[in-house]
């Protein structure tokens, strides 16, 4: 459905050109939920924003061997054509439910806007449909809630409204950039349930960005692990937890408590990965992870490993697997 090949995003900054996303290739099937994990600054948001093309250009520059959604080459589209696809073919939801809704309009009206825009519905019809959407995302008393202003709703409610807006255009692909990070834990679980339910019911493909491996374990079938703009590992969720191959993935894996086993069971130390991500304008020759890698070898400093398929569907960028 979505095919990305050799997608790079560069930013022109005061200190030169930095590559925030570096030759990333992957695809998402119809109805699939793909996860993207990685530390802050590794390029997750930039990647998603480049797919839906809302990066400021300049300073951003997008290059790709291929970027197609359902056979449409997104990079060939003019801004006008892209605008028609946004909200309908592909849309995005963000981390901050508190600020992602316009405080000046009622939520029902804001959802109705999408129906008016993409299906040319008249106002009354559009409002009816938005009430249906509110019901669909599990908001009690949707008729009344549609008349609320965003400030009258809690964070969880707002995120539901935002999801309703995103679904109003019936998109084929939904990019969710840390949709639950700003919510407290109980609400997080509810929103994740909702996202799963929508994915199952509507068959919308999703890319779920998070730095919470717990979210990955719960929701997605396949995971991309990013580091300094590159994919370092791409595999099924099962493999990610049971057979992580890249030392960085192993580090991420060990930095969370074991989900299935009781805390008492000693399963290796619960570790932060030592050191920090290198700056994008100061990347080493060779493997970008070498400075923090416990299994560093000579070759890591000399040459950059390539992303290799070591077993069917399991890709790793590491000299250990050569």
């Amino acid at each position: 459905m979505l095919t990305v090949r050799d997608l790079s995003v560069e930013f022109t900054t005061d200190r030169g050109v930095v590559t925030a996303v570096d030759r990333v290739s992957f695809s998402v099937d119809k109805g699939e939920m793909l996860g993207i994990v990685g530390e802050s600054g590794c390029g997750k948001s930039v990647l998603a924003r480049s797919i839906i093309r809302i990066l400021p250009m300049p300073p951003a520059r997008i290059r790709a061997g291929q970027l197609t959604l359902d056979g449409t080459n997104l990079l060939d589209l003019s801004e006008r054509e892209m605008q028609k696809l946004r909200g309908k073919a592909v849309t995005m939801i963000f981390q901050e439910p508190m600020t992602s809704l316009n405080p000046k309009f009622k939520v029902g009206y804001q959802i109705a806007e999408v129906f008016r825009k993409h299906f040319g519905l008249r106002s009354s019809e559009a409002i009816e449909r938005s009430v249906e959407m509110l019901a669909l995302v599990g908001i009690p008393d949707p008729e009344e809630r549609a008349k609320s202003y965003p400030f009258q709703l809690s964070g969880g409610m707002r995120q539901r409204v935002i999801i309703a807006m995103a679904l109003a255009g019936d998109p084929q692909l939904l990019l969710a950039d840390e949709p639950t990070t700003a919510l407290d834990v109980t609400i997080q679980a509810q929103i994740l349930d909702l996202i799963r339910e929508i994915n199952e019911r509507s068959g919308t493909s999703m890319i779920l960005i998070t730095h919470d491996l717990g979210v990955i374990a719960e929701l997605v079938q396949r995971v991309i692990v990013m580091y300094a703009g590159q994919i370092v590992e791409m595999t099924t969720t099962e493999n990610l937890f049971d057979r992580p191959l890249h030392p960085y993935t192993v580090g991420l894996r060990n930095s969370i408590p074991d989900i299935d086993s009781p805390v008492s069971k000693y399963d290796g130390p619960l570790n932060e990965i030592a050191g920090s991500v290198p700056a994008l304008d100061d990347l080493p020759i060779g493997c970008y992870f070498q400075g923090r890698c416990p299994k560093r070898m000579q070759v890591c400093a000399d040459r950059q490993p390539v992303l290799k398929e070591v077993s069917p569907g399991h890709h790793v960028r590491c000299w250990l697997n050569d």
């Binding site: 696809l85 909200g87 508190m98 600020t99 000046k104 993409h118 809690s154 964070g155 609400i187």
Partner: protein
Amino acid sequence: MTDQNVNVSGRLVVGRFRSARFISGRMASNKMLMVGGVIVAVFTLMAIFAPWIAPYDPLELHIKDRFSPPSASFWLGTDNLGRDILSRLIFGSRISFQVGAIAVSIAIAGGVLIGAVAGFVGGIIDDILMRIADALLAFPPLLLALGLVASIGPGLWTVSLAIGVVYIPRVARVMRGSVLVERKRDYVVAARVLGQSPWKILLFHIGPSTISPIIVVATIIFALAIIIEAALSFLGVGLVPPTPSWGIDLDVARHYLHRSIWMPLFPGIAISLAVLGLNLLGDGLRDYLDPRSYSTNAANTGS
């Protein structure tokens, strides 16, 4: 804990916030707002109902009563030609507020358009427009207006036009600034990913939030327009005598300082009071409409 509970407590927070810190923080600005509002309202009423309020025709000469001090028949005295000072002041407010209104309309129309384009389109267009604006802002407004009026001639409309044009860059700056802030808001980006057209985004999501700063700057420009009109008229290049302009009356009074203290005193007070009122109103509105009070409000409703 369900969403609903959070919602209820969210409302409680708003309630508490409003009743305590919120209100007391707004008290000071409310006072400015009230005093300024009252002064401006009085002048506005005076301007509108001048013919009914003024005791005399502002041009009528009472030859026998030249230079008379305040008295029962002439409350604020008369000038060198025996014209009633009070009546001239009242009609003068009409002139001042006409100039202010026309100048502000022109400044807002031009500035909002240019600022919105610069802020929203960005890039090279923004660079060019703002470079020009900065260059114009480097001149003292009075000097620019003086040059403009000198080239297009005196009169109410030309003076207003000149003042309006002079303040276009200032409005453009304010407008561009708030568009730049607004366009980065999460809900603007969210509207984009939902496929809203740039026009709709500019009008619906960005536009409303720029109204408050524009209202504030409009009030201040109104005051400045009154000062500049008075100054131009005082310098003899603005309105033409015998128009009852405060500036003209001051200019005339200048020649008779040894005969009458009332002639310069009252127009001077009128100008100061009108400008003070407008500035108080502007500052009060600034505090009252401050977007920060809006967002702290929103932030405090959080779960």
